[in-house]
């Protein structure tokens, strides 16, 4: 931490010393291009510094204290095409901006994602594209990225998460967990969730009020931390707007929304308040539309500028967003009476931001923001239960022997009852952020000029959970369960400091170089964690070289960045788990009553002093070109994940006493008078005579040898994701008024885990002598046939967009093509040598370390250990051979049980799927000025043809395969009043 503070102070001092530039003023008027009337409430923002203002009733505005250099002024007003003016600011400047109404009468309308021309890979999806594609779950914007696949049914029943530059299934690491999502600058964090380790849910984010989505798949700024797989930034609509009604109908989903931007005060001086409400409902089944997920999102976004006429104006934002809704199956008439699952998905998020436009040489801009997110994700599951016998419910939390006594072990009821399980989860996320910017321009002589835009900031975030965890409304009906309250766990505190320099060097002949370099230090603290306070340093940098002409442009960019994903709560503050062994059970009485005793072993993850923090090293190189009206962008990316967190088990031998039920007819204590106790240390069961007549009877027992296990988090092997993304926007075909886009990705993943992991084949398995299995196997990577995989995909989309302004119609047809889809399981060591044995028959155990194709593959543990000598790792193969050749049949058979085999003889075959296609159509039509209709159909030819799998040499149907979207459709109506 000290090192970064020193670095930050040095950075600020150096930068302040550099700044000598004179601030300038940009003023002007914003007018309607057709009526020439002033455009009150338009927002004017200087993009580099973030300074902004709202246009007054006479259409005038003024931005003060802007730095010398290239000024990028963006002017926005709802219903009008945003204008971006770029010019050299070398003196006080006055401009006039003409805004044009945004509708389908315009020539330039886009319904696809747009690549940003900056020094990293990022895409923008605007409102028109969202409407055209009828996005109802924000995570579905990935459909619009290069090579993206349509979703078909975008129902909210499925809680989909975004995972950028990943194909998800079967890959090592956790791409979804590493993909960050922000809404208006507020992070949707999942750190406070106790029952999952994945990306944040986006179901509670209303989509009808989204203005724009920015997806950064490349190297993000160091301003953004706690991520490793990119960033999704959602920006909602702000500014004065008319009433807007949005209705969307799909077979499984209905959406209705109302929104308006109000100006407050007589002349709008009181600020602008945007209010939106959205109701969305999805049903799980059309034939039984009773199980639903509902979203009721209300959003209030207040924006005001203070000290507007002063030298240093202040922008103030206050957002309050809430959601009521969730999953509910209670009204399903097909379910048994009063059985249901209800999952609340309540959220209250608030963000307050103050931006101070200082505009001084020593500081250009200062932003302070604070946010809070409170969620209530209570889940209630009511189940009807019944039993003929009293079943043991274990609530023991102490190590040792326990007998059913009504507290540690409770004997459940017989007959019929309801069990209401409540999982109370209330994630809380807090954040305070301070960011400062310095802007600076310097002429280097001739046409050479340098602009510098530096920023530095401090972020503090805290995540925790105020929920109670799992509990039951009736303790006597609770099954085996231990209370683990979330609200007693400490919060994760994270303090981050970052500094970044973004500079642009203007060269002669319309050439420029832009680069950015930043450092970010994250410090994480969890009270009571064995790991103490942990920290990590993430350096990131990127550079872009461009030649920009009127008709031709070429730019090349490259970047490298390290993103550290600190261990989750699960690692740093492990919860206790319990293993229970039944040691005694009295015989069941005629009324179904019985008494059980168990040995309980609590365990939690062991501290690993040598655990390193998982990080990703992202590298990318890209090129963008403009040739006439054809645009091309091409990016190669390579992301390597180092030291991923891998959960391993460590086994310790232990034994317990097993006592058989009493069934001897001559037992001295009659059944009705028996009371049982167990010695918590020795496990001996004693029968007491309730009448006191017969002396206590200690029951005989036998010793059973088992293992207890503990988790230890270790660092696993590295994995690599790499690929190419491209977009080609061809010049429009004027006669057809049609644009053609060709986009796609080639994606390749390879990961092999070679960490030595211990494995026991299961407590139910006995060895040849009838005793519980007593050997531990040590496998490379996993006690399974494969320890890794390789996969490649080539997905491309060709989109034809026909836009006819005169009838206000836009039609796009997209061909989704998967030309190459290959996956193969691997079993090899860290040097790539095959370590499995290829066999002809499933029942074989021996083979050759040759090509696995069309063979069953056996995998031996590298070592094994015994119950008597758990620390000595014996060579498995040598001992197996000795047992076989020496006639030790029992050991031979017992060791063979540890051998893992591939399920089939084609398991390791390369699985290449023959090419397949789907076609989507989207239509948007404006009816007059106020009404817009959109219709879409995915896979509208309902392609159900068959594809060939090289793994099995079989052809299977695409129908319901998940490879292409299902035939699906939707209709939406938008009205502006």
């Amino acid at each position: 931490m000290k090192r970064i503070l020193v670095l930050l102070l040095t950075f600020m001092a150096v930068h302040a010393a550099m700044l000598r530039a004179q601030p300038y003023c940009v003023s002007g008027r914003v007018m309607d291009a057709s009526t020439r009337t002033p455009m009150e409430y338009a927002t004017v923002v200087h993009q580099t510094t973030g300074q902004g203002t709202v246009v007054g009733p006479d259409g005038t505005f003024q931005l003060r204290n802007l730095p010398k250099g290239t000024a990028r002024i963006e002017v926005r007003l709802f219903g009008y095409v945003p204008q971006l003016l770029t010019f050299a600011l070398t003196r006080d400047t006055s401009i006039v901006v003409m805004l044009v109404e945004q509708d389908l009468r315009l020539d330039e309308v886009t319904v696809t994602s747009q690549k940003q021309n900056i020094e990293t890979t990022a895409y923008t999806v605007d409102r028109t594209s969202l409407d055209h594609n009828q996005i109802v779950n924000m995570s579905d914007v990935s459909v619009l990225l290069p090579g993206g696949k349509s979703q078909g049914d975008q129902s909210l029943i499925d809680d989909r998460r975004i995972a950028l530059r990943s194909e998800g299934t079967g890959e090592m690491g956790n791409a979804a967990f590493g993909t960050a999502v922000e809404v208006d600058g507020q992070r949707l964090s999942n750190n406070g969730e106790m029952d999952e380790t994945t990306g944040a849910s986006t179901r509670t984010v209303t989509t009808s009020d989204i203005e724009e989505v920015e997806v950064i798949t490349g190297i993000p700024s160091v301003e953004y931390g706690d991520l490793s797989n990119g960033m999704v930034k959602v920006k909602t609509r702000r500014g004065k707007t008319p009433y807007m009604v949005d209705v969307t109908l799909k077979p499984h989903t209905k959406l209705a929304a109302l929104a308006k931007g109000f100006s407050l005060g007589r002349t709008g001086q009181g600020g602008i308040l945007n209010v939106s409400y959205e109701w969305t409902q999805s049903v799980s089944s059309l034939t039984s539309p009773y199980t639903t997920y509902r979203r009721n999102g209300l959003s209030l976004r207040y924006t005001r500028q203070f000290l507007k006429e002063k030298a240093m104006p202040l922008n103030f934002n206050l957002d309050v967003k809430g959601n009521l809704g969730g999953y509910n199956s209670k009204s399903d008439p097909d379910a048994f009476s009063d059985t249901y699952t209800k999952k609340q998905d309540y959220a209250l998020r608030s963000l307050m931001r103050v931006q101070w436009q200082v505009g001084r040489p020593w500081l250009s801009y200062l932003e302070l923001s604070a946010d809070v997110s409170l969620e209530d994700k209570e889940q209630r599951v009511n189940t009807n239960r019944s039993s003929a016998t009293s079943q043991p419910a274990l609530h023991t939390i102490e190590q040792g022997y326990h007998i059913a006594d009504g507290s540690a072990i409770v004997m459940g009821p017989t007959g019929y009852w309801y069990e209401l399980a409540i999982t109370d989860s209330k994630p809380v996320d807090l954040g305070v952020h301070l960011k400062a910017k310095w802007d600076h321009e310097k002429s280097l002589g001739g046409d050479y000029r340098m602009e510098s835009h530096a920023k530095a900031g401090v972020d503090y975030t805290a995540s925790g959970n105020e929920g109670r965890g799992l509990y039951y409304d009736e303790a006597s009906f609770a099954p085996t369960w231990r209370e683990a309250r979330y609200d007693t766990l400490p919060y994760i505190h994270n303090l981050a400091v970052y500094a970044e320099e973004q500079a642009a060097l203007q060269l002669a002949h319309k050439q420029d170089i832009r680069f950015s370099f930043g450092l970010r230090e994250d410090v994480t603290h969890i009270a009571g964690s064995d790991y103490g306070t942990v920290s990590s340093l993430s350096p990131r940098g990127s550079v872009q070289y461009g030649i920009r002409g009127k008709k031709k442009e070429l730019s090349i960019h490259a970047g490298i960045g390290k993103s550290v994903k600190l261990p989750s709560m699960q690692v740093l503050f492990p919860t206790i788990t319990y293993v229970d062994w039944q040691t005694f059970a009295s015989g069941t009485t005629a009324s179904g009553e019985a008494c059980y005793a168990y040995y309980t072993q609590p365990s939690s993850a062991l501290y690993n002093a040598s655990l390193k923090w998982q990080y990703s090293l992202q590298r990318e190189v890209g090129v963008e070109a403009k040739l006439g009206k054809t645009r091309l962008s091409l990016t190669y990316f390579n992301t390597r994940t180092f030291h991923p967190y891998v959960r391993t088990s460590e086994f310790q031998p232990f034994s317990y006493e097993l006592t058989s039920p009493i069934t001897a007819p001559d037992f001295p204590i009659p059944t009705a008078n028996r009371n049982y106790t167990v010695d918590s240390h020795s496990g001996k069961v004693t029968v007491h005579d309730a009448t006191g007549i017969v002396a206590d009877q200690e029951l005989p027992s036998t010793t059973i040898r088992r293992y207890t296990s503990n988790t230890r988090w270790v660092n696993g092997s590295s994995s690599t994701r790499q690929g190419v993304e491209w977009i080609v926007d061809f010049a429009r075909i004027p006669a057809l008024r049609t644009d053609i886009r060709w986009d796609g990705t080639f994606y390749h993943y390879r990961g092999v885990e070679t960490t030595l992991v211990a494995s026991h084949i299961g407590s139910s398995t006995n060895q040849s002598d009838g005793q519980p299995y007593s050997y531990i196997g040590y496998f490379e990577g996993a006690s399974a046939a494969s320890n890794g995989s390789v996969q490649s995909q080539l997905n491309t989309n060709v989109t034809f967009t026909t836009h006819i302004p005169v009838v206000r119609l836009i039609v796009s047809v997209r061909f989704e093509c998967s030309f190459y889809n290959m996956k193969r399981a691997l079993r090899e060591d860290s040097e790539g040598n095959l370590t499995g044995y290829a066999m002809r028959d499933a029942t074989d155990y021996f083979g050759t370390t040759s090509d696995y194709t069309d063979h069953y593959v056996a995998v031996y543990p590298k070592y094994y250990s015994t119950w008597d000598d758990p620390t000595t790792l014996r060579p498995f193969y040598d001992d197996l051979m000795s047992a076989r050749d020496g006639g030790n049949v029992n050991l031979y058979n017992d060791l063979l049980r540890m051998v893992r085999k591939s399920n089939t003889n084609y398991y390791f075959n390369e699985d290449r799927i023959s090419p397949y296609f789907a076609t989507d159509i989207n239509v948007t039509k404006e009816i007059g000025k106020y009404v817009k209709l959109s219709f879409y159909a995915t896979n509208f030819w309902n392609n159900t043809s068959r594809v060939h799998s090289s793994q099995t040499d079989r052809r299977t149907t695409l129908y319901n395969s998940g490879r292409i979207p299902a035939f699906y459709y939707g209709l939406s109506l938008k009205v502006r009043l």
Binding site: F336, S337, N384, S386, S387, A388, T389, Q391, P392, T414, G415, Y416, Q582, A585, S586, G587, T588, T589, A590, S591, G592, A594, Y596, L658, S660, P661, I662, T663, A664, P665, T671, I704, G762, S763, S764, T765, N766, Q767, S768, G770, P772, A842, T843, Y845, Y856, V889, Y892, N893, D894, L896, R897, K901, S902, N903, T904, N905
Partner: protein, 450 residues
């Protein structure tokens, strides 16, 4: 508009004309002659007096008896048939054998090669054993609160079907894969035969249970084995059975199977010596005998082979569906060890497929589960009546039970109420042709509820 109308009328007339010129396809109710010959597996000669049944998946059946040359003659509508044949054969030394034969997916249509020319099938001989499965109850019953079915009350009754006492050593219980008859089954060869049919074994999936001591049964004596909870289930489920009686046996091995829902500790009245032991080579915390349609069998391991060692021997492992997985792991149980078996089909599917080979069970019995019905042996009327003094003690009227009168559950075709007859002192001999189609009926309730 007129043009459209005229075009429509002319088009319709042309379509009518064209359709009248199309030659009629053979109608589906056209019938075909299909002769079938049953051959002696040793001599290759036709066997007379064999009952042959051709049945469709819809349950329609045609029956014929072979003539002196071994031919049974059928006239069948086009369709796909399963064949089942059984009969008795006594060799020159007086040894009686049960002869069985089955074949699936027999196509009958105008192009089928068997039409007119017929097909020849070789029968399989197997010996009749004394220990038989008298009743299998595994389909569950309705819960009292109306919330569905209760399944944890399965049991089987084994019966000494001879008049002499028997002692069975290392008696085991097994089930053939897949767990359900209608489940995906890749254990069939391209020619429609089970790939282990000629290998001399039946796979036992996941685990086997076995007695720890030899089992001795007098003639006509039976034992009840609780396959899940050996407790009185009627405490909570009035339609269920009491499996907590002291004479009952039970599958209870808490070291191997820890699921207390399947295996609550047995009734305190059942001695621990009546607990069976499990040998697990697959995976799971319970032995999941299908509640719908299992293939269940009993076997006895020869004295010179230890049953535990056999189950643990890696060389005996075999994988269901050719898929190597703990969930599909089986061991080979030699057919000659198998004493009896019952192949159960579900009435809710037309995709039932055989799992037991003809030597064990050449047929199948259908079960409608969840309503408390059980599968029960038919009485061998001739053999039972042949025992002196038996006939007058036989009780009839089982096929007059309320459920049977509603046509829901077929009863013993003879109408003999075996349990009531036994209570009257009758010695019952059950039918044992190693063919469940002939040997079992679906009983209106478990006999333990009588």
């Amino acid at each position: 508009m007129k043009h459209l109308l005229y075009t429509y009328i002319i088009g319709s007339l042309l379509m009518l004309l064209a359709s009248s010129c199309i030659k009629d396809e053979p109608l589906s109710y056209e019938s075909f002659d299909v002769p079938v010959q049953m051959q002696n597996p040793v001599t290759g000669e036709g066997m007379s007096g064999i009952q042959v049944v051709m049945s469709t998946t819809l349950g329609n059946a045609w029956q014929a008896t072979t003539d002196d040359a071994g031919w049974a003659h059928f006239t069948l509508p086009a369709g796909i048939y399963d064949l089942s044949a059984s009969g008795l054969f006594t060799d020159t030394e007086g040894q009686e054998y049960v002869m069985n034969c089955s074949s699936s997916n027999i196509k009958v249509n105008a192009a089928a090669p068997i039409v007119g020319r017929g097909m020849v099938l070789s029968m399989v001989a197997s010996r009749r054993g004394s220990l038989i499965i008298k009743e299998l109850y595994q389909g569950g019953c309705q819960k009292d609160d109306g919330s569905g079915a209760y399944y944890y009350d399965k049991y089987v009754i084994l019966y000494n079907n001879g008049q002499l006492p028997i002692t069975i050593h290392q008696l085991g219980l097994g089930m053939a894969p897949p767990y359900n008859a209608q489940a995906s089954n890749a254990n069939y060869n391209a020619d429609g035969q089970l790939n282990y049919a000629d290998e001399g074994f039946i796979p036992a999936i996941q685990a086997i249970w076995h007695f720890n001591d030899s089992l001795h049964l007098e003639g006509g004596e039976e034992i009840v084995i609780a396959l899940n909870g050996a407790v009185d289930h009627t405490v909570s489920y009035s339609q269920s059975v009491n499996l907590g009686k002291p004479e009952y046996y039970c599958t209870y091995d808490p070291l191997t199977f820890t699921n207390t829902t399947y295996y609550p500790v047995p009734s305190e009245q059942i001695p621990t010596s009546h607990y069976l032991t499990a040998d697990l080579y697959g995976q799971g915390n319970a032995w999941p005998l299908s509640q719908v349609c299992p293939a269940f069998y009993i076997f006895s391991v020869p004295d010179n082979i230890d049953i535990d060692a056999y189950a643990n021997d890696a060389d005996n492992i075999w994988y269901h569906n050719h898929v190597v997985s703990a969930s599909g792991a089986c061991i080979r149980i030699p057919t000659e060890w198998i004493l009896d078996g019952v192949e159960v089909y579900t009435t809710t599917s037309t995709k039932n497929a055989k799992r037991l080979t003809d030597e064990v069970d050449a047929g199948a019995v259908y079960l409608t589960n969840t309503f408390g019905y059980s599968l029960h042996r038919n009485v061998d009327v001739a053999a039972t009546k042949a025992i002196p003094g038996n006939e007058e003690r036989l009780v009839y009227g089982l096929n007059e039970t309320p459920d049977a009168s509603q046509g829901v559950v077929p009863a013993d075709p003879s109408g003999i109420h075996a349990e009531a007859s036994a209570r009257q002192g009758s010695f019952i001999i059950y039918q044992d042709t190693n063919n469940s189609s002939n040997d079992f009926f679906e009983r209106y309730q478990a006999t333990l509820r009588d």
